[in-house]
Amino acid sequence: MASLNVLVAVCLVYVALLFIVAFAADRKASRGHRSAWLRSPLIYTLSLSIYCTAWTFYGAVGYAARSGLEFITIYLGPTLVMIGWWWGLRKLVRIGRSQRVTSIADLISARYGKSNTLAICVTILAVIGVTPYIALQLQSITLSFATFAEADPARQLYETTTVFWVAAGLAVFAILFGTRNLNANERHHGVVTAVALEAVVKLVALLAVGIFVVWGLSDGIGETMARVDASQIGQWQMQGDRWATITFLSAAAFVCLPRMFQVMVVENEDERHLRVAAWAFPLYLLLMSLFVVPIAAIGLELLPVGANPDLFVLTIPLSQGRDGLAMLSFLGGFSSATSMVIVAAMALSTMVSNHIVMPIWLRMQGHGASVSGDVRNVVLLARRVSIAVIMALGYFYYRLAGQDAALASIGLISFAGIAQILPALVGGLFWRGATRTGALAGLSLGFLIWLYTMLLPALGGGLLPDAVLTDGLFGFSWLRPQALFGIEGLDPIVHAVMWSMALNAAAFCTVSLATFPNPLERLQGAQFVNVFDHSAGPRGWTGLVAQSEDLMVMSQRILGAGEAQDFFQSEAIRQGSHGGLPEPTPAFLERLERELSGSVGAAAAHAMVGQIAGGSSVSVEDLLAVADETAQMLEYSGQLEVQSKELSRTAKKLRETNEKLTQISQQKDAFLSQVSHELRTPMTSIRAFSEILRDTEGGSEEDTVRHASIIHDEALRLTRLLNDLLDLSVLESGQVSLNMTVGSLGEVLDHAVSTALAGSDKPLNVIRHPSTEVVRISSDLDRLSQVFINLIANAQKYCDAENPEISIVASTRYGRLRIDFLDNGSGIPRASQQLIFEKFSRVSPEKAGGAGLGLAICREIMLRLGGDVRYLSGHPGGAFRVSLPLAPDLVT
């Protein structure tokens, strides 16, 4: 009989051996030359065997003893997955590798737009779901220790003390193995190798016990089968719903369990290993289950009634005095428990530290902290503390609920909790329409129902009042945890799994359909769903130029063709290569990313550039699809912007037009009022004098002549005024027809001077500069002459010098002909210099003969002739400058 001391010593030696194996494997891996078998699919397949925990090692026999062949469902689920769904697993592995996924929480988060909320949810769910499972390992190790202790009278073991030390030991063990170093891709070659070794140990141990039972305690297979038939297992009846449910649960758990995900996806180094594992792992499971029924049957027969069937694997050899076999069996169970705890703790601590602790720590640190060593230490510490906390949770769960529950039922609770991840996971892999909100809704609903219908009733102990169990929550009978919506008579497990999974999946689908994924979600969704279309090895990016071209194509869709070309050209020039595309240097990629982020946001830009430049996880087609969508959205918003700009432009135009119309209307009123005034004035004189002529009898001849001549003058004035008004109206409306002819400036001036001087008796000396007047001009010479006449006549009228004279000087400059009319009078006051060109403006009315339209007409004429007339303010006297384009420009 082995003493407890020997047992503990064997355990320590075994752990030390595992540690050495792990250390050696890590060293070899880090040096890059690992032996072929270390990289073979064998290690991968064996590492998958952490599915078989102490529950399967010890519990399967107990399960068979209690429920007959139903234990097979636990093996059936994974077998079906491996054989029937290996392509789904391959997709998972491919995605895991291409996305550098660190855990199942990370995968779900990545699929749904890198949502950390979702990651936190999955993490919490995983921690709560796995806690019973860890408790289960504690229970099995404690039980096995206790079994040995019973046989060792020198030692009295207290269960609670044992379980505490087992938990503490496992925590230390997991911390030593799982957090020795930090790996960028979270691969732990050492741990995987150690786990593979443990897989061999537990298989060998179970087979040894089985062989001992069949051929040692019984006389071969035939007799064993007969004894099985004789035992209570022979009376076993199959329950279809439980079979289906538990098979489904174990299949779901096989995919969703964090530790399974860890070894299957995260630790996978070659996708092809999966192909071997697809048949090898079911084979392993077959071997593991081979002797379960015989051991259970013989144990039930040999051992006293009431002996715990969960420990038959241990107690049968002990009862037969086979200490060595018992020790091997103990090591097998120990291996099952430790490998599970190490990997589970590793996987969970990664999730907890990556998705819960680190975000909080980074937020507390602010944005400045990026010292890598610092972060590294924090991550390691976070993982170690997480492992300790997870183990503590397992310990407390065990203290709370585990002592009197069978191993199998604890395991199923765990499975059902973890299975809640399945809809979001599978939906994410195959359905592009799945959204973050949908995943969140499904997960939370499923989790709550699982909590209410399975975990809380199992915990018992006052956590859920009995009243709730029998009468339902708040007294609603349809809310009874084990008979939801009034459906009674179902097996509790079937009931809980059915409701939680059905409502989970329903919520996931409905909410996904009702919500719209954001761009990153769509991008990630496309990458996940179509991972095979474009991540195959040989179809990578060929060379750097191809990559630049792809970047260019993508950028064109986002930035627009012109802008993208400009950007790439300037980048190429910056790199010193003229013509051709720029090399995808980090600096260039960084600038491109900045450029793109202006259009699609920083995250999308980073993802897009990263996907093209960084590797092969997304196809150009996918990127272009996203880019097209973006372009469409941009275009649409651009159109809207243009439309709204156009609208505001139109509104502004309308406002301006309205103002202009109001102004014009006011101007028109003012003009009419002016015209009326100008017409009434001569009419007043005409009427007054004509009445005088009519009414006066016997007036002097002299008076009569004078009055008649006033009438005549005023009539002429009226005629002039009307002519001017008509002239101006024609000029202003632009309906004037110009009679363009060619002539010399001198001749036009000759005509203008003589006409102007003939119109008045006032003396005016005109000084000409004939040498400047030898210019050919092409214009409407009559109109031009009209302007000159007006200017000369004005000088004649208004020049207040004693000997009034006007100097006419022509010059050419800047391709324009300028004719200045300068008199020697006092000029026009600065304030009026602009005003004089307005209609009806007169600086000194008492001298004016006209209506004040002359200069306005001049201005209009010059405008029509392509020139202008303005007042020269620098000159002491009255000074006007007429300018017009020189002949060549005018001949059209």
Partner: protein, 135 residues
């Protein structure tokens, strides 16, 4: 009778503020024939000073004047002492209703638009003169 006639005649001095020479001539001709002495002034700026100095029995005022508008002149005039009751006949080429309103508000005694009828102007002058003497 002769005395009374002379007395009346002595009270017939009119100041005409108008910038159109031909209109001045027409009014001067008409009123001189009626026994008035006409003093014409064509600038608005110093119109008030001219009126104050002339102490006329009647003022004929144009609306649109260089320097200062007839409207401003009448306003300023009515603020002067002894000028509040002086009859003022406004003649203007701007005959809109609004101008008439403003002018009457400003204190003109009579408002007539150009071109005017000679008989109407003479009637208005007589009327205004008679009213002033009765008061």
């Amino acid at each position: 009778m002769a005395l009374r006639e002379e007395f009346l005649h002595m009270g017939r001095h009119v100041v005409l503020i108008e910038d159109e020479p031909n209109i001045i001539e027409a009014i001067r001709f008409l009123l001189t024939r009626e026994g008035w002495t006409v003093e014409a002034h064509s600038d608005g700026q110093d119109a008030i000073a001219v009126i104050k100095a002339a102490k006329p029995d009647l003022v004929i005022l144009d609306l649109m004047l260089p320097g200062k508008s007839g409207m401003e002149i009448i306003k300023d005039l009515r603020e002067q002492e002894k000028m509040t009751q002086l009859p003022v006949l406004m003649l203007t080429a701007r005959g809109q209703a609004r101008d008439r309103e403003m002018a009457e508000k400003a204190g003109v005694s009579r408002f007539m638009t150009k071109p005017f009828s000679n008989t109407e102007v003479l009637a208005a002058v007589r009327d205004l003169h008679a009213q002033a003497n009765q008061a």
